[in-house]
């Protein structure tokens, strides 16, 4: 019996994209979202989402770290001594985060300055270590990689959603600080909707609450509410 399974394993292609793999990507986007369902990684979700552009950069960084730390952990999983597995996982995560940090520093220094400590804090993001412990230590490399990417995407989707709401209503712009900055609503002719000269919007002012970290908590709370109202299987019946 054991021989048959090993033979079957050998025939399996290393990279495939079947139903299980698609589920690994799709699940964290909704049913098992790391932020709205597992409520992990909240710290950075509150801190970096006042603008969309840093949220996007942060999401890409987390997707990269999650994907590759899962891949490497899974590749090493049968060699990692069980007694020190968490230290080994941390070494892998920390080195990947350092790679992100060094790359950002030489590619886009202003955004590196803006995200400051939060890039380094990816090391302590519970989503990363959670996925390594829960999935990568027990699964094959390709699936672990997909699981990491999927969870990173789930995290990023919420980050970007929150960032968009906060920036549009808090600053009246989108992608501020990036080359494709859009000025949407504000008190000058640079904006699409000019609140000074457009009579319809003369009452409008940016909501300063949106810029504060507390706003991210309200928005994430509302997102969780919306998600659970149509996805009823997530609701605890107790």
């Amino acid at each position: 019996m054991a021989e048959i399974t090993t033979e079957k394993e050998k025939k399996e292609p290393i990279i495939e994209f079947g139903k299980t793999e698609r589920k690994l990507i799709a699940d964290p986007l909704n049913d098992n979202n790391p932020i709205t369902v597992q409520v992990l990684g909240i710290c950075s979700a509150l801190a970096v989402t006042s603008l969309v552009y840093p949220s996007v950069v942060m999401s890409v960084a987390v997707i990269f770290v999650l994907g590759f730390s899962s891949l490497f952990t899974s590749l090493l999983r049968s060699y990692i001594p069980k007694q020190v597995r968490m230290i080994v996982q941390l070494v892998i995560i920390a080195s990947l985060v350092t790679v992100v940090e060094l790359t950002l520093k030489s590619v886009n220094y202003p955004i590196y300055k803006q995200l400051s400590v939060y890039i380094g804090l990816i090391i302590t993001n519970c989503i990363v270590m959670g996925r390594l412990e829960a999935f990568a230590m027990a699964n094959k490399p390709w699936r672990s990689f997909l699981d990491g990417i999927g969870n990173g995407l789930g995290y990023g989707a919420i980050l970007i959603a929150v960032g968009t709401i906060r920036e549009v209503f808090g600053k009246g712009s989108l992608f501020a600080g990036s080359p494709i900055e859009l000025k949407i609503i504000g008190p000058s002719t640079d904006y699409w909707i000019d609140t000074v000269n457009n009579g319809w919007f003369s009452w409008y002012a940016n909501n300063n609450l949106m810029v504060l970290p507390a706003a991210a908590m309200f928005i994430i709370g509302i997102l969780i509410w919306i998600q659970r109202s149509y996805n009823t299987k997530l609701v605890d019946v107790s």
């Binding site: 007694q83 080994v88 350092t98 060094l102 030489s106 300063n208 970290p213």
Partner: protein, 244 residues
Amino acid sequence: MQSTNYIIGFIIALTAIVAVALTGLREATKTKAALNEEIFDKRAVLSAVEDYLPEGKQVGDLSDQEVVETFNQQVEQKVLNMEGKVVPGMDAEDIVMAKERKLPEPQRKLPLYIYNQDGNKFYIIAVRGNGLWDEIWGFIALESDLNTIAGASFDHQGETPGLGAEIKDNPGFAEQFQGKKIFENGNYVSVKVMKGGAKDEEHQVDGISGATVTCDGVTEMLQRGIEYYLPYFNTIRQQGMLVQ
């Protein structure tokens, strides 16, 4: 359960591989990162004289190359000691304000950037102080009368977004400093950030609601930071009088 030797061997091998890989990456990106940091700092200095940049440009519009060129052609760098004497052989950019702040006051050195544009001289000084959570700093440009503020730029380490961080994020805050005077009838008074709005047009600017501690930090930083440069300013004034 693996043997202790295996565990030690595994950890040593893993850290060795990681260390080599990261050192390699760091070495490969070091020059570019240092250059980026230098340009970032130069932009911060230039944003204090944003209204006087060549061709009416803003700091954000300048390419990295233009920033370096403007700096090389129009900015003169000096380092002063606390008695207001020029320290020879040093560039203002060599001074790390965060380190200077840790020294006892008499030993500190002060960076000074003199920006020349269309025959006008602007004296850009560096100030650094404490905000609510961490350090705040900025550059203040003074016109050649050494009294009128031509512009200011601020930055911070960890002020609250939407509150204290507005000293940097809201360009309107720094703009208020333009045209303010640091002397009143020949006495040094600095410029104050006032909770509840400025009452004295010449020496006060409006504070930010909800960010009183950061604003008081700015006031304190300016009061002390500008004062450090006064001995040097007195020297140039006296020299100026001799020439006249």
